[in-house]
Symmetry: C2
Subunit: 454 residues, 2 copies
């Protein structure tokens, strides 16, 4: 009998456990997963929608309970169990729990310790009302803080989580201010596209302040009272940190496992930690190869965590699978404004050493004469001379965001914008103009690359 | 001064004219377009939505009027002018019109004569109430026939046009029967997917009868009264022919121009008619190379017509562009059921000589816990051994159909289903489950190709 130990009971860890179990029965492989929080497998990405009331109850976010893992898959998921150290040579982990501390040996170890919110020194305060929203436990804390007397919310950081949380809180009836250091909110797209998001947020009544740097928090009587910034203090009854996350790899680093320039665990294509036989890693705690730049990035997203966990589990179970990398595809929405991206933004393309052209078009999601037709912006980045697609962004209302997938596949396949002008995409009046927005953008980008008269 | 003559004033022809004009000013190139019907550039694909009342007025379908072409682009579009013969050696066309007949010389000739509805011998009757819906004039005829006493409609043929017209007519309050010779309506997808469409049509109150062959029409007092079938006569006050269309190439064939096995004009990649310098063709009157089978097909769709016309016009104007072919992507909807396909159906794959596996999954369009989450079926065909994607079909409610585009790009790029399992597609709870439907289908198809335990 062999034993697989999984550290971290959410997407990556439990995907690995499930795939290993699918291939190896319980009489040949024991699977134990330790989760330091109160919940196992759940949708962390759904937390803003639960806080905002779109998803009615927290329990809808729970994918599978420990009891379900035990009964259906013979997987022993233990919550409120924290792995406090790993000895990769002795092949043991040390576990702390309410019911006692113990060591356990492993044949395979999956590190799926996730990420933790970036929390600057000024956020290290001894009063309440300051929350990250990385785990369901974070969400629980925030939800119970939101009593009727909590009126003024400040969200710090205008990335996905920040924007989604600002909308969630305004949907709950709070006054919401969003503070962003950069030029525009939704810093995951270029500022020209971010400006469209800012308009939508303002339309919801969110007070968006850009070019503002936070320097501290103010508090009284054990509660937060304001956010101190380079542009004065903003009163607050609750503060949400949306400053991004970093890989949670303290445990791994203590054990001498290799981490990269972004602080994430390094793995090979099969999700093995190099140099440590039987040790695997997956999810928000690892670095991922960006297929367009060829460099490592930290991309903490459920879709990668699930894929990486699945790949680790298949390999542990004796199969063969690889995770080749990612290209930075992401979608979100603010009210009815949909925002999507794939590949590189301008700043990223420049940093990677690319010389490129851009093309932005405004068109409609459906035939112009069809009811529900709405404006849609598509922006493409293409490499100078080769015309290879480097990145794409979409902002639009209704049925806009998932069109990024066609662009993501084109990018993944290394297509040029000239080749893309011929793509055979779906056309019918309820779904697209006869020239699909993607094709119009590709035509314009090809003209930028080759000249309009060629 | 040179002269470009365009035969046919809709999508392909006017795209060619516009692109040529964009590159060559009016003092160097005269552009004359002849259209035998009453209208120039319009959206034929919008006709069912106008008949059904979704699009309020017919004029919304008109893209540009002859006056607009003249004023904005110096293009002389003459409606009610029929080209009755072409002499490709003398480089002249003969034109018939109410204001007289004449011959005109050309330097460049674009044939964009479109398609005509397939009309079996039994449809050649001398009473009214039997309509194709290929042109705006056809739509005009049908719309004026639909007086309040016209109650019973029979649509013959269950392809796109048939299904769209059946819905349009039931939306107008008629009793509608759809007759289809095959196993299921929506014969453009496999019968297992077509069965889902049948359910949706039945839910609208459309009487769908399959396995029924039409043998004749019945009429009295100059009006249609019924459709005679192998399963008895079906009463009808109006009959719509949805039996598909064929290339309208009588003129071209009379002039000795080359046509292919499907009756469409043959062209090279730049849309030149081979062996006839200065003669070009584009749109529903040409045959197109299917990039998966390598064989010619007839794909009468506005999206191809516009692309081919654009390519012809760029080349006529001295630029360089090619139309490489198509892969059979198409989308439509029945009520709120969306239907999409790309590549080959099972029957087509078999006919092309492929050995293949299929994988069908039922999943949801959004995260299961997110409001508005709805079922979505994805079916993939992959070549045995290589695992190369050969075709895909989607049936779902809400935000389902345009997801075919990601599959179309994967197909276009020659991806295998195994490669597709790693694709970086957009994920957020309002837009997709954490495992996107496309990825779940790719995983299942890869298991079919390689075995579940590999």
């Amino acid at each position: 009998m062999k034993r697989l130990i999984v550290v971290g009971g959410d997407a990556a860890g439990m995907s690995a456990a499930s795939q290993a179990r699918k291939r190896v029965p319980a009489d040949r492989l024991e699977i134990v997963a330790f989760e330091r929080g109160n919940h196992g497998s759940y949708s962390a990405c759904g937390i803003p929608y639960w806080i905002g009331g779109t998803v009615k109850t927290r329990d809808e976010l729970i994918v599978r309970t420990p009891a379900e893992f035990r009964e259906n898959q013979d997987i022993d998921l233990r919550v409120r169990h924290e792995v406090v150290s790993i000895d990769p040579h002795a092949r043991t982990v040390s576990v702390k729990s309410d019911s006692g501390d113990f060591d356990l040996e492993f044949d395979h170890l999956v590190l799926a310790t996730g990420a933790v919110p970036v929390s600057p020194p000024w956020a290290d305060v001894d009063f309440g009302g300051v929350f990250g929203v990385q785990t369901l436990d974070d969400g629980d804390g925030l939800a119970s803080w939101l009593t009727p007397e909590v009126r003024r919310a400040v969200v710090i950081g205008g990335g996905y989580i920040g924007v989604e949380m600002a909308e969630a809180l305004i949907n709950r009836g709070l006054d919401v201010t969003l503070l962003e250091r950069g030029e525009q909110p939704m810093s995951t797209v270029d500022p020209d596209m971010g400006a469209l998001v800012r308009d939508a947020m303002a339309g919801l009544g969110i007070d968006v302040r850009t070019g503002v740097t936070v320097t501290g928090l103010a508090g009284a009587a054990g509660r937060v009272t304001g956010v101190v910034t380079t542009a004065g203090e903003v009163p607050a009854d609750v503060v949400v940190l949306g400053l991004g996350v970093r890989p949670n790899t303290l445990l791994a680093r203590s054990a001498g496992l290799p981490v990269g320039e972004h602080g994430g665990l390094l793995t090979d294509l099969r999700m093995r930690v190099p140099g440590h036989e039987g040790v695997w890693a997956a999810g928000d705690c690892v670095e991922t190869r960006h297929l367009i730049t060829g460099r490592n990035v930290h991309l903490p997203l459920g879709t990668h965590a699930n894929k990486q966990g699945r790949v680790a589990g298949i390999n542990i179970g004796g199969g063969y699978a690889t995770f080749p990398g990612a290209i930075g595809t992401a979608v979100t929405k603010v009210c009815d404004l949909e925002v999507a991206r794939t590949g590189l933004r301008e700043r990223e393309a420049t940093a990677a050493g690319f010389d490129f052209v851009t093309a932005t078009v405004e068109t409609t999601n459906r035939a112009g004469y069809f009811p529900g037709s709405a404006p849609m912006h598509v922006k493409l980045l293409a490499e100078r001379r080769t015309g290879r697609l480097l990145g794409a962004q979409i902002v639009g209302r209704s049925e806009a965001a998932k069109r990024i997938d066609a662009l993501a596949v084109a990018l993944w396949s290394g297509m040029t914008v000239e080749e893309m002008t011929a793509l055979d995409l779906g056309y019918a009046p309820p779904f697209a103009p006869v020239w699909d927005p993607v094709l119009i953008a590709a035509r314009k980008a090809a003209e930028e690359v080759h000249g309009a008269d060629q």
